[in-house]
């Protein structure tokens, strides 16, 4: 009997070491989030990685490395070992707008990464102070073109989502409001609610509670479909504005050179996480848009990054926006 037990133990031991040799992951995975803890990207990273950890059987540890519009953290992640134990949550800024904003950027979003997949999109909403004279987007655009020198646009600092999408908005509607910079979305919203500044464009998760509370008003949401969080807010297209559809997407990347089977494992875990009811519910509560099955693949993400870099570079360069 004793021998049998020993033999079994040995076999079990062998099986375990065998699994370890080829079975990624065998230790916790670090996910670098290039923004401060508590922000929209951080929250999405934590929600999505929670379920992924369970699928992979190893904890995904979030490390917040903030700075320089997210490029500090992504630079560090891009230069880390490509073994699948360091991954990152990139977003519209770090993998779309950054090459135009930071001329000395140490990575190329289209070449230096192994894309894993799109995690969630957070739509952009055009919001204004509640005392603003216009009642709808048409009236707002009209006012903007007539009183360009009077209108103040708030943004959360050069390189932030509200800054890039704001510049994009101005270029689409050909307006030149005065830009007022804040350190983060919170203070900017505070002054918007106090009627100190006139309008801004920002991610739905930041502005939705204030819209629902009647502290600010929303003119349009920059997505093809309305959001269930803000069912009364028309899309830009519905409100009569073509060409302004933009979302602060968040996506997981690994450093270039990460083995394909590891990328596949991570990508599968991400897909499973996005199909999980709890993950879905929490992302939807934030106003997030869950990517469809075809949008979630590494290949689709690579295409998205390429198209985003191509879209943001001319817009931001024309506005003379650089961060160095």
């Amino acid at each position: 009997m004793k021998k049998v037990v020993l033999a079994l133990a040995a076999v079990a031991g062998l099986a375990a070491t065998g699994a370890q040799a080829q079975g990624y992951p065998t230790r916790p995975i670090t996910m670098i989030v290039p923004f401060a803890a508590g922000g929209p990207t951080d929250v999405i990273a934590r929600i999505v990685s929670d379920n992924m950890s369970r699928t992979l059987g190893q904890q995904i540890v979030i490390e917040n490395v903030a700075g320089a519009g997210g490029t500090t953290g992504i630079t560090r992640a891009a230069q880390s070992q490509a073994d699948g134990y360091t991954i990152m949550m990139g977003h519209m800024g770090t993998h779309g707008a950054a090459p135009a904003l930071y001329p000395n950027l140490k990575y190329d979003p289209t070449k230096d990464f192994a894309p894993i997949g799109l995690a969630a999109g957070t739509p952009i909403v055009i919001v204004a102070k509640k005392d603003f004279p216009a009642t709808d987007l048409k009236g707002f655009l009209d006012y903007l073109s007539k009183n360009a020198d009077k209108v103040n646009m708030a943004h959360a600092g050069v390189g932030s989502v509200s800054h890039s999408t704001g510049i994009f908005f101005n270029s689409v509607v050909k307006a030149k409001p005065t830009m007022v910079a804040y350190r983060g979305t919170g203070p900017a919203l505070n002054d918007l609610m106090a009627n100190t500044v006139d309008f801004m464009t920002d991610q739905i998760v930041n502005v939705a509670p204030q819209i629902q509370g009647g502290n600010i008003k929303a003119y349009a949401i920059a997505t093809p479909q309305r959001s269930p969080v803000l069912p009364n807010v028309p899309t830009t297209k519905e409100a009569g504005l073509e060409g302004y559809e933009v979302s602060a997407w968040n996506a997981i990347f690994a450093p270039k050179g990460t083995p394909p089977d590891v990328v596949k494992k991570l990508s599968d875990a991400l897909m499973k996480s996005l199909d999980d009811e709890n993950t879905k519910k929490r992302l939807l509560e934030l106003g997030g848009v869950i990517p469809s099955n075809t949008e979630r693949t590494p290949e689709a993400l690579q295409k998205l990054v390429e198209s985003e870099v191509a879209r943001w570079t001319p817009v931001l360069k024309a506005a003379g926006a650089t961060a160095e």
Partner: protein, 500 residues
């Protein structure tokens, strides 16, 4: 009024469940511990512990995280008093007189009065939030860039009053602090300023790095060049808790500090940092003998500590009633709420009343627990000072290095505390005081950004600072304070002229 009591009883019903009591205790304990460790702040801790709270219900999770926040505020004063290392801007003032008290063998009294003052302030602030939270929210909205700039100007005048010795030297130090705060990426244009192309300076100098170097490391160097004074601390430990005389001296500063701190804590954009400085200035001006300040005056600990804690508490108002975080820790709380499916905003109070009132009630519970945790610990901390300095200082240095590294995981930060430590040491040797510089550093960035914002909005018209009543009032107060601060030295200067 009936509402007030029914709300509070709803809140206490939530806060006093066994689970939530336990979570509040755990939060306060963890908070105290990380507050005591130099450098490791509430931000890093809360970010680290966020995943653990996933399994809890949102109210319990937030109660624990809030406990960490004010526990850390309290623990931070312990380090400031014992080893002269202010972990956060708000405990810079505590270090001034608190550490002097410790050097005189009154560490226990300083720690005790800090704990008791904080508890009182926390109790009052909790009541203020419960009774006036919603109406006070409007105050936060009155403060735009213009008002904020004027408030910061007033704050800089506090820095002048803060100084012990030469006013000229104090002003010089404030300006150095303001200058240091301009290092980093310009907010409006995105240009890098005074970074010498060094990437780790692109986001400016971290407050904790500057404070730890200029206070903590410099203090160690100073202690090492004359060990005898340190032995005095070892021999005379003195009473562990404040006696009646101490209370008599402290109760008024505690009351005033609570009021000032609570009022400034409500302001958006981290007005709470001004609380302790304002309280210290007031106490120094009201004292019969202001020369005691900076040499171990108990009022200089009691007032600012109360202001600090009251501000920490009331800074929850903008978060809970508006969903607008006034500082980085509160921004993290927003994230924590969001992860738990509660998106902070004006509707939290009506949509999640148990969460809202439960959190408020738990603040008071948390303050009580901090008192219970900290009073017995006072003896232990004081005994820590008995450890021979040659053993103590390497430990402090090591904790400083670990703590500072944990903030941004940057080796350059660790080297920077050494650099600033050396500068701090030189400053002490040349008779320059570091506290006004730190205040200048904290206020400089806020002041610059709000000045530019106000001017952009007014299209360059400086009149905006006088046209707006709140701003004009603040500037007037600043001018009066400055005159009061400068008069004695002007008069002295004149006397000297006459005697010649």
């Amino acid at each position: 009024m009936g509402d007030f009591f029914s709300n509070l009883s709803l809140g206490f019903g939530v806060a006093l469940t066994l689970q939530n009591l336990g979570l509040a205790f755990l939060g306060c304990l963890v908070g105290t511990l990380i507050g005591v460790l130099p450098g490791v702040g509430p931000i890093a801790t809360i970010a680290m512990l966020l995943p653990i709270t996933f399994g809890l219900d949102p109210t319990g999770a937030l109660i624990m995280l809030a406990g960490i926040y004010y526990g850390a505020q309290y623990g931070g004063s312990t380090t400031a008093i014992l080893v002269n290392i202010p972990g956060e801007a708000t405990s810079v003032v505590t270090a001034l007189d608190g550490h002097q008290m410790a050097r005189q063998g009154r560490a226990g009294v300083a720690l005790g009065i800090a704990a008791i003052g904080s508890f009182f302030a926390g109790t009052v602030a909790t009541l203020v939030i419960a009774a006036l939270g919603a109406p006070l929210t409007k105050l936060a909205l009155i403060f735009g860039p213009t008002e904020y700039f004027s408030l910061m100007v007033m704050g800089l005048v506090f820095a002048v009053v803060l100084a012990r010795g030469s006013i000229l030297k104090a002003i010089a130090m404030i300006l150095v602090g303001v200058l240091l705060s301009t290092v980093g990426t310009d907010l409006e244009t995105g240009e890098e300023r005074m970074t010498f192309g060094l990437p780790f300076l692109a986001d400016g100098i971290d407050f904790a790095v500057l404070a730890m170097g200029i206070f903590g490391i410099a203090e160690i160097m100073r202690n090492l060049d004359h060990t005898e004074t340190r032995d005095v601390v070892r021999q005379a430990i003195g009473r562990l808790l404040p006696n009646r005389d101490d209370f008599k001296q402290s109760y008024k500063p505690v009351l005033r500090g609570t009021f000032i701190g609570a009022a400034l804590g409500i302001l958006p954009g981290n007005g709470a940092v001004l609380g302790p400085f304002a309280s210290y200035t007031l106490e120094k001006k009201l004292a019969k003998d202001s020369s005691r300040f900076g040499r171990g005056a108990i009022e200089g600990v009691a007032g600012p500590e109360s202001a600090n804690n009251a501000g920490a508490q009331t800074s929850f108002i903008p978060l809970l009633t508006l969903g607008i975080p006034p500082n980085a820790v509160m921004a993290l709380m927003v994230g924590a709420m969001t992860i738990h499916g509660i998106i902070p905003g004006p509707q939290v109070m009506t949509k999640n009343p148990t969460l809202f009132w439960g959190m408020i009630a738990s603040m008071w519970v948390g303050n009580l627990m901090l008192l219970i945790i900290n009073l017995p610990l006072v003896g232990m901390w004081v005994r820590l000072l008995k450890v021979p300095y040659r053993l103590l200082f390497p430990a402090i240095l090591m904790f400083c290095c670990i703590g500072i590294y944990s903030i941004n995981s940057l080796p350059t930060d660790v080297m920077f505390i050494g650099f600033f430590g050396f500068i701090g040491y030189m400053l002490i040797k040349f008779g320059f005081e570091p506290a006004p510089m730190l205040l200048g550093f904290v206020l400089g960035r806020l002041m610059e950004e709000n000045l530019r914002r106000a001017l952009i909005i007014s299209r360059g018209s400086l009149e905006t600072f006088i046209e707006r009543p709140v701003s004009a009032g603040l500037l007037a107060v600043a001018a009066i304070l400055l005159v009061i601060a400068l008069l004695p030295s002007i008069r002295k200067g004149r006397d000297e002229v006459f005697t010649e």
